[in-house]
């Protein structure tokens, strides 16, 4: 009886959360949906044609965005790995202060420091460039990478690595054959988080990129702002779909790489 009640509440809550997505799907195929109809009165794929048509140039922007955010995700993981390790396994002076400092971009408002960064990037020629935008995104993604990987390292401990070292493995071998496979779920999570944060960015990309670096978020924004429900729904679904495909691809890739000869890994 009580279990049924718990499940009912849970499903109701999740239903409320998911319901707007269903409305979004309807809008993505609606040609017309006048008030006060509960369902669209005509269906169309106009937005999808616009999205996929080579003439509109949407697909290259989507690919460019995926590339940019993949670079950000990759760099986030590369930079976060040693930092997270240091925070998880070492005791040193000023550790707490450093930890709070590296996580602080999660709390400092992006908008407030983005304008200062922009002014400075103009001075040194990084404004309006791919790498300028990547750097700005890194500021937002690094804290997530570090937080996730520190948690993973802490949960794992370093005993298995020590065992490998005792059995005669060098540090590079240990790292490649023991550490990385063991923390691969954490690598995937950190990569996903960084990708999502970067892919979703509008304000920073728009400000630092100065309209020269065009990402998918920047195509989507005006549709939402302008109130074109059909096109914004189509672009939103394409956005979510791209993220999901990227996530599954990354997971599959890492799994394949880990499975190769890693018979102790489950």
């Amino acid at each position: 009886m009580e279990r049924r009640f718990v499940n009912l509440l849970l499903h109701a809550a999740i239903g409320v959360m998911i319901f707007p997505m269903a409305v979004l799907v309807l809008w993505a195929f609606a040609r017309e949906w006048p008030w006060p109809h509960l369902f669209p009165t005509g269906f169309s794929v106009r937005g999808w044609v616009h999205l996929l048509n080579p003439c509109t140039g949407v697909l290259p922007v989507l690919l460019y965005s995926v590339l940019l955010s993949s670079v950000v995700a990759f760099l986030t993981v590369i930079f976060s790995l040693p930092a997270a390790r240091a925070l998880a396994f070492h005791e040193f002076r000023g550790k707490r202060a450093i930890e709070i400092f590296v996580l602080s971009p999660m709390v400092i408002p992006t908008t407030a420091i983005a304008m200062g960064i922009h002014v400075n990037f103009i001075r040194i020629g990084l404004a309006d460039t791919f790498w300028g935008v990547v750097l700005a995104h890194l500021l937002l993604c690094l804290p997530y990478g570090i937080k996730i990987l520190t948690g993973v390292f802490e949960a794992l401990g370093d005993r298995i690595e020590q065992q490998a070292r005792v059995l005669g493995a060098g540090w590079l071998e240990t790292y490649i054959y023991v550490t990385l496979p063991l923390i691969s779920p954490g690598l995937v999570t950190a990569g996903i988080m960084a990708f999502v944060v970067s892919f979703s960015q509008y304000f920073l990309t728009f400000l630092i990129g100065g309209g020269r670096v065009v990402t998918f978020s920047m195509l989507l924004f005006p549709f939402i702002q302008g109130g074109d429900r059909h096109l914004s729904a189509v672009f939103s679904l394409a956005f979510i779909g791209t993220v999901l495909i990227w996530v599954f691809a990354l997971e599959a890739l890492v799994k394949r790489w880990v499975k190769k000869g890693q018979y102790f890994y489950t």
Binding site: I18, I98, P109, I113, I117
Partner: protein
Amino acid sequence: MNGERLRPYVMLAPVLLVEAWLIFTGIHTAFEQSLGHFPAAGLSGYSLKFYIAVLKNPDFLKSLVFSFYVAFVSSALAVILGIFLAVLLVHSPRKENLSNYLYRLPIIVPHTIAVLLVLSILSSSGILPRLLYALGLLSAENAFPGMVFDRAGIGVILTYLWKGTPFATFMVYTILKNTNPGLFEAALSLGAGRWEAFYYVVLPLLKPAVIPSFLFLFAYAFGSWEVPYLIGPTHPRALPVLAYTYYVSPELSARPYAMAVNMVMVAVSFILIYIYSRQMARAGW
């Protein structure tokens, strides 16, 4: 020996350099310009007059109050709902079922799309007024009370809530599923009521999830530009929107006002970081 001691610093160096450089230049430039040192616009010398002008401006004060209110209400509600959902998830008989994945969907959806969802449900031509109309509870399209672009910020709050609740749920659930349910049972068998046991036994255990969730959600809602820009009222504007309006003003002389507003937001975030570090030190995590 010495090299061994330096190692953690070397490992942290790349991250520290990137972050320190960006944060420092971001804040330094904003601070300098907020004091009126802006040679490109023909402004030099340092003064506090822009801060004084901003702080005396009633629009700024309204924006400050609005941003605080939206951030507080949305993050507090998200955390409360998050605890509630996490408890439900833990008590759910099938823990690894679809709902465990579905509730996390909003985490990968950006805030701009969350705005679109709220618009398609709550705007005057949204699904909710249509449903109410079909049920005979609403007489006409414009009879629906304004919930987007409204001064009470309901649209903004609901957008943050839709995004924030799964985040809080995830944080709380992670701790909850690893705590011993026996603690709750023990409190019950010692004579505590269900709510008492929850309040005095379970809630303190959840503190390491609840306080950071609240602070992160608050900070995000306080400092984010997209949501209030798209769905918020034009009066009062949220602080980031106000700063942006000054920043893109064709007159460069308005720039110091933008930076002064930014510095106020940075100051608020420093207070949040201070609270976070105090909590971390006290709880030992």
